[in-house]
Amino acid sequence: MKTTFVIDPKRLKRRYRAEKRFHAYGIIAVALATAFIAFFFYDVLSKGIPAFKTVEVQVVADYSQAVADGNYRLAVPKDMRHMASRGWMRTIPMQLVDHPELIGTQETLWVPAEFRVNQYIKGNEGHGLKGKYQTIADELYKQDIIRIAFNWGFFTRGDSKLPEIAGVGASLVGSLVVMFITMILAVPIGVVTAVYLEEFAADNWVTRTIEININNLAAIPSILFGLLGLAIFINFFGVPRSSALAGGMTLALMTLPIIIISTRAALRSVPNSIREGAFGVGASGLQVVWHHVLPLALPGILTGSIIGLAQALGETAPLLIVGMMAFIPEAPTSIFQASTVLPAQIYTWSSDSIRAFGELTAAGVIVLLSIMLLLNGLAIWLRHRTSQVW
């Protein structure tokens, strides 16, 4: 009996084409994701970089007695009053209260320009500057009385209703304080929990419940942690609303599962022979963990903690719920004071309709992204440097 194996060339061609198509789908998918990342970073950078430049005006400030009494507009020559920032002018009387010896003197200095002048000089659409002031601004710019300079104040000043003197300084301090609280709460509790589950706990239903619970917690939407913070920390325990403490505790609970999960992975990667060796020479359970397992797992624990904290740093939703989005121009001086954080500051600015705030928002986004990049880079570097193959 003879069988023939018939190859249908048409069908074969079709199959080969399908093979090629399938391969192409994969490449297209990766290319799409890459293109998005490229577009995203290009867009954010091109929007935000102009905000790091600010427009300044040179004025001769006249510290007369009338200015010290509160009529701050008199400090600036009449033709400059529409050029210089009103926010700056308002600070003069207070400055004179602190330095009474300045009264009666004059000072030449560069001050932030009013935001419409700022936008006009930068050549942005929708600057809203009136025609007659446009000509004055052009003239002053030609005479180098108006200049474009790097916006150092953006990093030192707090929020303001006037975009030319608004900055991320206060919110950076707020973020730092909140992160500190989150760190000192979440890292020790998380590491201890992981050590207990991985090294000590018996395999019974209690342990399994805790494990399932932690995995679940890691997948719960962050906004629900905000509801917890509002209902339990603020309304029940009476922690002040909008305070760094309320925000830090809420974020600590949110970060906890991430730290626990990564610490457990790090502990699991330490080979058992090390534990057995230590037990063999008579170490107790705590000694085995403290002297041998934890030091070996430390790089992994640090990496996981940094990634968890970076995530908490970029988190906004639960902080909005605990009230950290109000207009808060000052950096906090205690953990019970109302404060704001960088992502919340970005959100507040993004909902403002003045165009100059859009630029500030993008600049804030760049600052936030740089910090995230730095933290994640640190984590990757740490993992790379200390990675150990057993």
Binding site: F22, N216, L227, L230, G314
Partner: protein, 416 residues
């Protein structure tokens, strides 16, 4: 004396006391050990035991006062709390110096205390879950006392504006009764989630297939971290991007087709959310595709089946449970995502099937009703907790299903 001062005083008092307790007791035992007199445990353990004896009464006293304060039984002034706590610590220190002797099995005692502390730490995560559950449950029950559950689930009209008046103490002026029908809100949530999944599933899945089956190691090493960058970008940044860049693009694009789109359309946040979710799907799917045994691929290739055909007919069906689990997790992530929709989606509940119109979502409504100057008891505030309860329920169910699917998948291939 403020709470801050209490913390400062307690820390400033307890830390030096702890140092005294530790070093004093340890050195005492060290001297004995050096002198050749018997010591049962290592000297350090006696030091720690002394710290525990010192700290335990202080913490107990502080807890007692806080408990009394919380139950409104007795309101101790802060200064009294601090003084009592520090006094308890001092007493404990003196007692520890007298009680601890070299015959104690200090190691065993310290390990027992350490174990107890670990269990307390592990309990915090359980307490967190209970806390979330209780906080949304209690307020939701109060909400459903005034708004029937049936109206909430099936009502198609969400008009909470009059609840705002009631919240401001002017309930009689508004006249009209507020409506809390959540159907439009859920519809908006599912529409944006659906758009996100339409982006994330194809791109994420094909990226995973490409990376695990086709890509050379060098390409893989470059592309994988890049995809993970997408997961690390803060959501407020995505929200800004969706609102400022993508929304106007969608409006312009719709104009080209002669359609009219809102600036708060559902498409922009949906697309951006989809991109945010790509790495969740791709990395989880890649893991399960990677876990499919090589023997199955080899068997299929040996029969003369092409590579793509092997992936389609052998690898993907085998990995399907894991892929489904990844998708469910991604859906739960999308439903709970807040900042993108808060910044780019609308505020007005809108029951529509047109993605170019503005819709609102559960998370937007929660944020909106909790960030105003509302009394905590107002119906609008309570409605946020009711929506939170629904959100919690949906995500829990999705997470549990996906965990079960993964569990069965792992069992099937005997993975640990």
């Amino acid at each position: 004396m403020s709470i801050g001062d209490v913390f400062l005083w307690l820390l400033g008092g307890l830390l030096p006391l702890a140092c005294i307790a530790f070093f004093f007791t340890r050195n005492r035992m060290q001297h004995r050990e050096v002198a050749g007199l018997g010591v049962f445990s290592r000297p350090g353990y006696y030091g720690w035991l002394s710290v525990i004896y010192m700290a335990a009464p202080a913490v107990a006293v502080a807890m007692l006062f806080s408990m009394l304060h919380m139950l409104h039984l007795y309101d101790a002034p802060f200064s009294m709390l601090t003084a009592a706590s520090l006094a308890a610590a001092a007493l404990g220190l003196v007692a520890s110096l007298r009680l601890i002797n070299p015959d104690n099995n200090a190691r065993l005692l310290v390990e027992k205390w350490a174990r107890g502390l670990m269990i307390v730490a592990a309990g915090i995560s359980v307490l967190t879950t209970i806390g979330i559950l209780l906080s949304v449950l209690f307020e939701s029950i109060r909400f459903f006392n005034s708004v029937p559950l049936w109206e909430f689930i099936t009502g198609t009209k969400w008009e909470a504006d009059t609840a705002f008046l009631a919240g401001a103490g002017r309930g009689d002026e508004g006249g009209a009764k507020p409506h809390f029908g959540a159907v439009p809100i859920f519809a908006g949530t599912f529409m944006i989630t659906g758009i996100a999944m339409l982006v994330a599933i194809p791109v994420g899945l094909f990226s995973a297939i490409y990376l695990s089956e086709y890509a050379k190691p060098r390409v893989r090493a470059a592309v994988k971290p890049m995809l993970e960058v997408l997961a690390g970008i803060p959501t407020v940044v995505y929200g800004f991007f969706a609102a400022i860049t993508i929304s106007p693009l969608v409006v312009k694009g719709a104009e080209m087709f002669g359609l009219e789109a809102d600036y708060t359309n559902a498409l922009a946040p949906g697309l951006v959310m989809g991109v945010m979710i790509i790495p969740f799907i791709s990395s989880l799917s890649e893991d399960v595709i990677h876990a499919v045994p090589q023997a199955m691929r080899d068997g299929s290739l040996a029969m003369g089946v092409g590579k793509a055909e092997t992936i389609r007919h052998v690898v993907l069906p085998a990995a399907m449970p894991g892929i489904i689990a990844a998708t469910l997790l991604a859906v739960s992530r999308a439903i709970g995502e807040t900042m993108i929709v808060v910044m780019a989606a609308g505020l007005r509940p809108n029951l529509t099937a047109n993605p170019l119109e503005g819709v609102t979502t559960v998370t937007v409504k929660i944020v909106e009703s909790l960030t105003g100057d509302q009394q905590f008891d107002s119906l609008l505030t309570l409605s946020a907790f009711a929506l939170g309860l629904v959100l919690l329920f949906i995500t829990l169910v999705l997470n549990i299903i996906s965990a079960l699917v993964v569990y069965r998948f792992k069992k099937q291939y005997a993975l640990t």
